[in-house]
Symmetry: D3
Subunit: 290 residues, 6 copies
Amino acid sequence: MTDMDIYIEKANTLVEALPYIKQFRKKVVVIKYGGSFMDDQGIKHSMMDDIALMKLVGIRPILVHGGGKDISNMLKRLEMQSSFIDGLRVTDKETVGIAEMVLCGKINKEIVQLLENRGINAVGISGKDSALLKVHKKEYKDKDLGFVGEVDKVNVKFLQDLIKNDYIPVIAPIGCDHKRETYNINADHVACAVAKAVNAEKLIYLTDTDGVYMDPKDPNSIIRRLNISGVEELIRQGIISGGMIPKVENAVDAIRSGVRSTHILDGTIEHSLLLELFTAAGCGTMIKED
Amino acid sequence: MTDMDIYIEKANTLVEALPYIKQFRKKVVVIKYGGSFMDDQGIKHSMMDDIALMKLVGIRPILVHGGGKDISNMLKRLEMQSSFIDGLRVTDKETVGIAEMVLCGKINKEIVQLLENRGINAVGISGKDSALLKVHKKEYKDKDLGFVGEVDKVNVKFLQDLIKNDYIPVIAPIGCDHKRETYNINADHVACAVAKAVNAEKLIYLTDTDGVYMDPKDPNSIIRRLNISGVEELIRQGIISGGMIPKVENAVDAIRSGVRSTHILDGTIEHSLLLELFTAAGCGTMIKED
Amino acid sequence: MTDMDIYIEKANTLVEALPYIKQFRKKVVVIKYGGSFMDDQGIKHSMMDDIALMKLVGIRPILVHGGGKDISNMLKRLEMQSSFIDGLRVTDKETVGIAEMVLCGKINKEIVQLLENRGINAVGISGKDSALLKVHKKEYKDKDLGFVGEVDKVNVKFLQDLIKNDYIPVIAPIGCDHKRETYNINADHVACAVAKAVNAEKLIYLTDTDGVYMDPKDPNSIIRRLNISGVEELIRQGIISGGMIPKVENAVDAIRSGVRSTHILDGTIEHSLLLELFTAAGCGTMIKED
Amino acid sequence: MTDMDIYIEKANTLVEALPYIKQFRKKVVVIKYGGSFMDDQGIKHSMMDDIALMKLVGIRPILVHGGGKDISNMLKRLEMQSSFIDGLRVTDKETVGIAEMVLCGKINKEIVQLLENRGINAVGISGKDSALLKVHKKEYKDKDLGFVGEVDKVNVKFLQDLIKNDYIPVIAPIGCDHKRETYNINADHVACAVAKAVNAEKLIYLTDTDGVYMDPKDPNSIIRRLNISGVEELIRQGIISGGMIPKVENAVDAIRSGVRSTHILDGTIEHSLLLELFTAAGCGTMIKED
Amino acid sequence: MTDMDIYIEKANTLVEALPYIKQFRKKVVVIKYGGSFMDDQGIKHSMMDDIALMKLVGIRPILVHGGGKDISNMLKRLEMQSSFIDGLRVTDKETVGIAEMVLCGKINKEIVQLLENRGINAVGISGKDSALLKVHKKEYKDKDLGFVGEVDKVNVKFLQDLIKNDYIPVIAPIGCDHKRETYNINADHVACAVAKAVNAEKLIYLTDTDGVYMDPKDPNSIIRRLNISGVEELIRQGIISGGMIPKVENAVDAIRSGVRSTHILDGTIEHSLLLELFTAAGCGTMIKED
Amino acid sequence: MTDMDIYIEKANTLVEALPYIKQFRKKVVVIKYGGSFMDDQGIKHSMMDDIALMKLVGIRPILVHGGGKDISNMLKRLEMQSSFIDGLRVTDKETVGIAEMVLCGKINKEIVQLLENRGINAVGISGKDSALLKVHKKEYKDKDLGFVGEVDKVNVKFLQDLIKNDYIPVIAPIGCDHKRETYNINADHVACAVAKAVNAEKLIYLTDTDGVYMDPKDPNSIIRRLNISGVEELIRQGIISGGMIPKVENAVDAIRSGVRSTHILDGTIEHSLLLELFTAAGCGTMIKED
């Protein structure tokens, strides 16, 4: 390409991006950040760059993070044994205490520091701070999975107070119930509940896979856009299956409550967040109402 | 290029542009718009697109326009003959009346309409509205060039009232002196005076040529960046000459009064404004203090 | 009269005027200014004095002006011939271009300058600025009168932004339709549309005649006050006729839309505006709802 | 005079008055109201009309009233005998109690009611309310005149709180000293202290005589305008003498502290207040700095 | 008690009081102050201390005072004879003038001064100031009791303007009717009307007796809390009788109009106001809706 | 005590407390909370009651907490061995990671929850959130104690944003240096740095001992009040010694920087906070400038 061709390319990208920058200004975007790539230093830094840039052009991100391997590592070091039901770990009182400590005292503060290093003000909180997340015990058949919670209520005013003063809330998925017990919560579910509560413009799941595929083995079969009935049809056909089901169910739940769009992006692709936000084609799979 | 290469290109352009979008938000950029390309419909529309986009992402443009061939055409139709001094047209009272009528009643309103068509609110004014421009008669040796003025004072409050209410001021280069006589003013000079008065971030001259060249015949010899002493040196060497001299003198004058940078861009290149504002390399010649 | 008598006269005039000054503070008064007296320098200056005084005591005037002889003069100089239908000039594309140029580039700026000379900030605009007037083509039987428009919509926010920042809007009767064509509009009709849109306190027509007379030949037969049914009755009886009919129809239209009163004043009487506004007897003919 | 002559007269009076109405808007004017005319019902009502009109056009009056004959009448009814020094009544503790009761409980409330009857909100206060006036005992040679005070400090915030909420303060000349004793104060002196404290535009003394005369017997010898050195000269020459001396001394004191002008008007002439405020010639004697 | 016991006592009192201090912040409490104790210097000072403390912690008191013996004393000194109907004094025009003078010019200003001595800003007003109280003549069978009024309307804005600027209004029970006549009003009734108009949190009657007793001779039989039907029952049974009846009727009237609680306290007990406001047990008799 | 005696006691305690409640409204009080009593459930709850009450009456508390035994317990469970210099533990990188996890993920969130249980909004943060605490490595002779920091800079805006929105900041003593390393910080020192930065009214150290004693064995020898030179004198005499020295040095440092008073209170006495704040005698030892 000649210099002039490069100019034209750049100009076209800008002409394409500028309306989105305008459109998303002051809009809240909730990002679920978690998965295997949390341990990849390169990905982690590029992702924090993207979030810093979003903030810089006036978007208002809220981060919800998961736990990754740090919790299991700590349980192993402390030689705490877990019991399992249907392959699901039972979270007893001591385990939830360790999970809280690792989520709030290690992972959460590390993310905060990565953003602060980029000159962006972030505040690391859990569902306990200003009673952000009120939960109840999650039912699982008639078994007892222990202190695993589901969100009843989000303290929206607290998030707004942080946002309007230009802080990025970074949320660890821990909450209390009405008996003041501490619960661990699925981070995808927290992100969905927060997005609904703040009436977010977008809810973005950064995962290990780039959206929904017609044929998982064929990378060209990615589905760029789905509506609610499309999601239901694909589940019925078995094309959406396994761990992707709760993700798209959260997506549909969020959209039904007023979130404008939900996105499932491959967190391992550099700058996938920027491409999704600022190009016409976007990136990954977008789910909208219709 | 593969799809992935295009993604990477786009992502890089965005990563490059976003800090500029942040940096120029709510900053005032004064644009002198005039020259032979005013009659090229394609250029005119692409330029208005760029100005609309600037506005959309939060920049505050002020336009100053010249007259082009419309004034001479009207004088010819009315069979008004002009006298000349040193090849410069003498602007008598009747001529300045015709110039005002064409500038304020035709060209100014046409630009306003082009911006309105893009959903951008513009207000077409001359130096008479709210006493925007107070002028005195320009001296030229000991000859009388008639009603040709130089700006003494700009009503900054008026421009700010328009800007803060989200209107783009579109300024025709006509003003009054203390004896309430009407004067024609050089549009480059008006743009410089306005940029100084509003303490603009940038003053951009959209001209028929893409900046300053070491060797006018060699398009690769363009000088991308100049400081004040560099300008003086190039004038001394005769590399800057002819009609470019008053342009760079206005540029230096503006910078000395606090404008952050002045730019001379080729108005005939599509989207040269966007490339200048939102890419690291910029476009044309930039003059800064040092 | 003795000195004391003069004192008493003055005191009485003040006692009479003060409540009106209070009552009209911050109220918007739309003034249609146009007619044969536009060429009388004395009248023009006394009228601008009155408008400046109105502004000084806190009234918020909006001026709408017509074109007078300047347009025909220019058409004649350019040797443009017009065709006519039922004696009405057909406004082709070139003619509306000349009309716009004269209205916006000559008459409008001249009025602005006269107000500025009195220390009052005025901004000269047409229906194109900030899309002030959206119009459609006026129907006339089944004939085509060309680019003659009727107002669909007034950009009230634009007028309010000017007014609240203490500028007097001076409006030239030019507007665009949805196909972005330029139209000439009857100034009486623009004044009526603007008065309705801003919910004016008063709409004042400064004309060549001092209101409505029972017997046009008898200057003592002026009708001081009319209500809507009175207007209809007088039209039925043929007492209101000719060019006065559209004026009173505009007046009735304005009142029905919430304007408090409409006035038809003789613009050739010095200070008729002041007498109307600040004396109990008023001046000319006032039309109110009942 | 013909009708047209009357129109012209009225228009001229308005043209003359309007700039003053503009000039005095939101300006504070302190009026000392007291003297023999306090018992004339006609004068009292015309004066209250004038004050109501001042308020109506945006001036901010503060009234200070004296006591007139009501105090002596009450002392007589209660058969309280006074002792005298150099012809001045000695104000013992019981006497000041009666004076306060009559000033605050009778005269003050009557003035308030007269203004309320005109639809103007007035609040009757004494120097005790919100500690408006802090005083010390007035020295008189080496004699003891009892509880007669001089003002040390005015609670400006209290007056401003009333004024900004659109109440006219009506002040009875009573105050306390640091030992919490109650004092009677000369009303001219209170008006002067208040005018200085609020930085009034004007201080107006409504008295029994129309200003300062070169020759008291010649009503045509009134002096319309005096500056500070003029006052001193006239006192030296004995032209200003007797009870007029403390009045002009208060006037000079006020002007030296920033009050723009002081006026001595004949309270017995109807509407003298209006003529002073809104005509070029004014009324009575005006004292300015130079 | 040991030092530690005293500490514990104090801490407990504080733990008890703090929530009330929070609860009553910025709430309006109307206090009727009047009765035989008005002449007891000790009581008077302790009561003013309490009101100052209330203000200090953010409560917004409004005082309404009665007249006590001062009015009768003054009538006696002036040798004014009163006629009586059914033992009730007839208030003729001269009598109401004396009552106004004593209430507004003596008692009102004395209370103001006592508060000012404690560093609290108070403003003494009557129903005439800013037309605070509009009244009509009170009916009494078919007899004429003279100028005795009942409140029709309270100027709430005036009270709010004083309160929001941190002044305590001190109200003398005088008002005007639509014919501009002056009336005396029962102070209990004024307090009730004011409490209703400002939507007070509490209406407190400081009287000579500590609330309502089942058996007036048994000080232990005080009724601490009553609801509306309880009041009606006790009146029916004759347990509430005599002068207490109009008090409790005012109380019930206030509560029905939205006042949260009414209290009848013994003004002769030191700090009864504080105990009522800041302890759980309270003091005197409280009447609430249910 | 009779009922009346109890009333009088209560009233006196209130009369004593009210001015303090007024005085400390909206004032910031920094409380260092830490010591052996952190493990006593009763004390912990009574202390949280006091802090909730402080907040309730308008005081603005900021809490800084230490770590207590939880950190050592966790190190022991993880079988991490520490090296020591002069008996001081060396904090290597792994140790500071565990300290951060326990402080931020366990203790901090537990305090937050205790306040939330009382209906008070608290936000648990460390020096990393919004870059609250910028530190440098603490020097200790020429030995390396590892990641032990001293505060350079406090992000005051962040604390004010929380406070003005009515949240209690609960601060864990962890911070970063310019190389983005994590440091543990002495909590007494953090409390002092925060108090200085926010210009606190009071800095309160809740410790295991009730202030400074002349003779530590004699509980009656407590020193109630000290000024700066008194502190220096007592250190010189060896009366203040050991672990009390850094505490009083922090106290003096805070006072020299504008904190109004510092207090050393026995955290084990119930409600010692309330007694200090709201009684004249106070509690513990107060250090003021003079």
